[in-house]
């Protein structure tokens, strides 16, 4: 009893400056175990503390409380996340992360993921030390956004460039969920980038996340660029290269069929393996891939012909009639995938060149933003370069090579080990 009150008074006293906070942190760490067994700790005790000022202490008590059976923990944690002070939280980030995970589990239990999206978004921003660091909360937040189908909220997290990663598993999950969110938003380019990251990530043994990502990666490549190559990119790990193909044979088959360009064969393959696609929950994606085959064939026609009649298009692409061909072409013109003119009187389609002259003032703004992004990227790379140059591993290896050019006593030998 007295320990609980002592803890609360010390929290209230020591929450002002950073020196006090570290002292408070030690106190709380010491008192953690005793708090767990303390039966006096109730929700009402939390009312004595203010989440924004006493975030650290509130966090510890909340952690202890939410372990046990407490009702209505979701709004409590949500309110805390919204009100807490980021600097204090970062001192005990693991506890914060575990609380947020508990929130996520509870929300999933209640089958209402939407309630957890906003708090977790705020939590990610608060626990992130810098904009470029991946935390353990990113994948959880993305998972909730996926389940709640609010893709736009998840997309806002994806727009940061990640430079530092704590745990590889977080990275795999982040890229996989991120890819799925982008597929949901129909931004196939970004989805492709994220899934590519997972597929080519370093791994010793085949990873279930990477395998699922590879399946989606194949389908998204088909939708986006219309090509399929059986070999993985060069930088993929050897484990991935040797094992992926054998484990996803149906998808590889779909890809090969797509390359041949025959719609009927592709549909046959899809129907044959639909149960497997269903199991992987990829059936919708596969259907999108099939419809994209029409687009790819029409695109190929633009490279061969200048004008074509709608009936001819329908015949070459194996569509039912000219009307459907017209609809497809119209859709593609609207999406900006081809440039063409449809003459309705005689049903002729004339394919045009890209009319972009790159000399408008809107182009200037686009170029400006792109150049700024590249400048930012260059700065990041230079920082990485500098930090690598100071890495003792690198210096040791470079020093060993330098010795070959030793001319007698001219150069000092570089020390092999650095003692800091």
């Amino acid at each position: 009893m007295s320990t609980l009150e002592a803890v609360i008074t010390s929290i209230q006293r020591l929450s002002a400056t950073s020196r006090d906070l570290s002292a408070l942190h030690d106190v709380l760490k010491g008192a953690n175990d005793s708090l767990r067994t303390n039966s006096d700790l109730q929700l009402t005790t939390l009312d004595q503390l203010d989440p924004s000022k006493h975030s650290l202490g509130y966090l510890y008590l909340l952690d202890v409380l939410s372990c046990g059976p407490v009702s209505d923990v979701v709004p409590l944690i949500a309110r805390f996340i919204n009100g807490c002070d980021a600097a204090q939280i970062r001192l005990a980030s693991e506890k914060f992360v575990s609380i947020c995970k508990r929130l996520k589990d509870k929300v999933l239990e209640l089958r209402d993921p939407l309630r957890g999206v906003a708090p977790l978004l705020a939590a990610v921003r608060k626990v992130q030390v810098s904009n470029k660091r991946l935390t353990a909360l990113h994948p959880d937040c993305l998972q909730l956004c996926l389940l709640a189908k609010c893709y736009k909220a998840g997309f806002s997290i994806l727009s940061d460039d990640i430079l530092e990663v704590d745990l590889p598993r977080d990275f795999y999950l982040y890229c996989y969920y991120g890819g799925m969110i982008c597929i949901g938003l129909k931004r196939f380019q970004k989805a492709l980038e994220l899934l590519y990251n997972v597929v080519t990530a370093p791994m010793h043994v085949v990873n279930a996340i990477a395998l699922e990502a590879y399946k989606k990666y194949i389908l998204v490549t088909l939708i986006h660029s219309g090509q399929f190559s059986v070999s993985l990119p060069k930088c993929a790990s050897t484990a991935a290269k040797s094992n992926f193909k054998t484990l996803c044979t149906t998808y590889v088959e779909v890809g090969n069929c797509y390359n041949n360009g025959m719609i009927s064969e592709l549909e046959a393959v899809v129907v044959a393996n639909s149960s497997e696609f269903e199991k992987d929950k990829n059936l919708g994606l596969v259907k999108q891939a099939v419809s994209s085959l029409y687009k790819r064939n029409i695109l190929r026609l633009t490279q061969k012909y200048l004008t074509l009649s709608l009936q001819d298009i329908a015949n070459m692409v194996q569509l039912a009639n000219a009307k459907e061909a017209e609809m497809h072409v119209l859709q593609m013109i609207q999406d900006g995938q081809i440039h063409a003119l449809i003459n309705q009187k005689d049903g002729m389609v004339r394919f045009l060149e890209d009319p972009e002259q790159y000399k408008t003032s809107e182009m200037i703004e686009i170029m400006d933003s792109v150049i700024q992004r590249t400048i930012g990227l260059s700065k990041n790379l230079i920082a990485m370069d500098e930090s690598l140059s100071c890495d003792p591993l690198y210096l040791g290896k470079v020093g060993r090579e330098r010795q070959r050019y030793d001319f007698g006593d001219d150069f000092d030998t570089v020390p092999q080990k650095f003692s800091m």
Binding site: P202, Y358, I382
Partner: protein, 320 residues
């Protein structure tokens, strides 16, 4: 500071004269103070006044034409100065004058030039000596000290006037204002000479860099001058400075003459060139990034590669 001239003459100076004077001065200074210490014999040129290289003074003659009240100084040549008698060598001057008269028939000796920070006493003697060639010569003085904060040219033109000092009418130097005047051909050649590149010829990259630096500094100067004008006008609007109507009229006429070209075709061309330049910068930026990336990857491989590598290409290594 010498008082302003009241003769009512307008002076126009060509940049060729300034280049000639500065070239003369630099040559003499370098010959006296050679950059490498391996030179054993030294050529002592004839027109040095003082021994120490800091106080080297060079002398020469300026020629040009006078039409009515306008005096236009076109060209200049060097003169021989005798340090013992503190005077110019007359025979040399006359010989050179004859030669130049043959090539440029319309030009007469208008005066003389020298270098230094201010006019000194015996300059007046030289000035008086030249008065028999031209009854009112001009004296062009170039200050060779490099002062980065100074925005104007370090060239001053002096005339001589008779003022009554201590009851005796004496000639003194008075400051005359001048403008720089140039012809297109002269401007191009002076520009070319003035921006000499490093002696090894320089690759296209250094030339481009020098060209762009020149443009950058010119734009910076334009920007700072516009800012001064703007602040002045704002202060006038707020009432801190009394209104000067003539200045405001000048500013208004300047603004009304802009933009100089305002047609559809101009906008089109302008945007196209702008976009082209942006695309080139983008390409340069991407190349820069790629080279940075290359360095990072090289360092990473050296640091983390194991000695025995299996597989045709190095596979990436897992995080620890």
């Amino acid at each position: 500071m010498a008082p302003s001239s009241s003769s009512g003459l307008t002076f126009k100076l060509h940049p060729l004269v300034i280049l000639n004077i500065s070239d003369h001065f630099t040559r003499v200074k370098t010959q006296l103070n050679p950059p490498s210490s391996s030179c054993s014999t030294r050529n002592i040129p004839t027109s040095i006044h003082a021994a120490s290289p800091q106080n080297v003074r060079v002398y020469g003659c300026v020629i040009g034409a006078q039409r009515g009240r306008t005096v236009e100084i076109f060209n200049s040549f060097e003169l021989v100065f005798d340090p013992n008698t503190d005077s110019i060598d007359r025979s040399f001057l006359e010989k050179k004058q004859e030669l130049y008269q043959k090539v440029f028939p319309g030009f007469y000796v208008l005066g003389w030039y020298s270098t230094g920070s201010d006019a000194v006493e015996y300059d007046m003697l030289i000035h008086k000596a030249l008065m028999d060639i031209n009854e009112s010569p001009v004296y062009v003085l170039l200050n060779p000290a490099i002062n980065h904060s100074q925005k104007d040219l370090p060239v001053t033109i002096y005339e001589s006037e008779f003022h009554v000092i201590d009851g005796i009418p004496q000639p003194i130097f008075v400051n005359a204002s001048y403008t720089i005047e140039t012809v297109e051909a002269e401007r191009i050649s002076v520009d070319h000479v003035a921006h000499l590149k490093p002696s090894d010829g320089g690759s296209a990259a250094t030339q481009l860099a020098a060209h762009l630096t020149g443009i950058h500094s010119a734009i910076k100067m334009l920007n700072s001058r516009i800012r001064v004008l703007f602040q002045y006008l704002v202060a006038m609007q707020k009432g801190d400075i009394p209104c000067d109507n003539s200045l405001m009229r000048q500013a208004a006429s300047l603004l009304r003459s802009l933009p100089a070209a305002h047609s559809e075709k101009f906008n089109d061309n302008f945007l196209m060139e702008y976009n082209d330049k942006l695309l080139m910068s983008y390409l340069a930026m991407i190349t820069n990034c790629t080279s940075n990336m290359n360095e990072v990857v090289d360092k990473f491989r050296t640091a983390y590669k194991k000695n025995s590598r299996t597989g045709p290409t190095g596979s990436r290594f897992p995080f620890i």
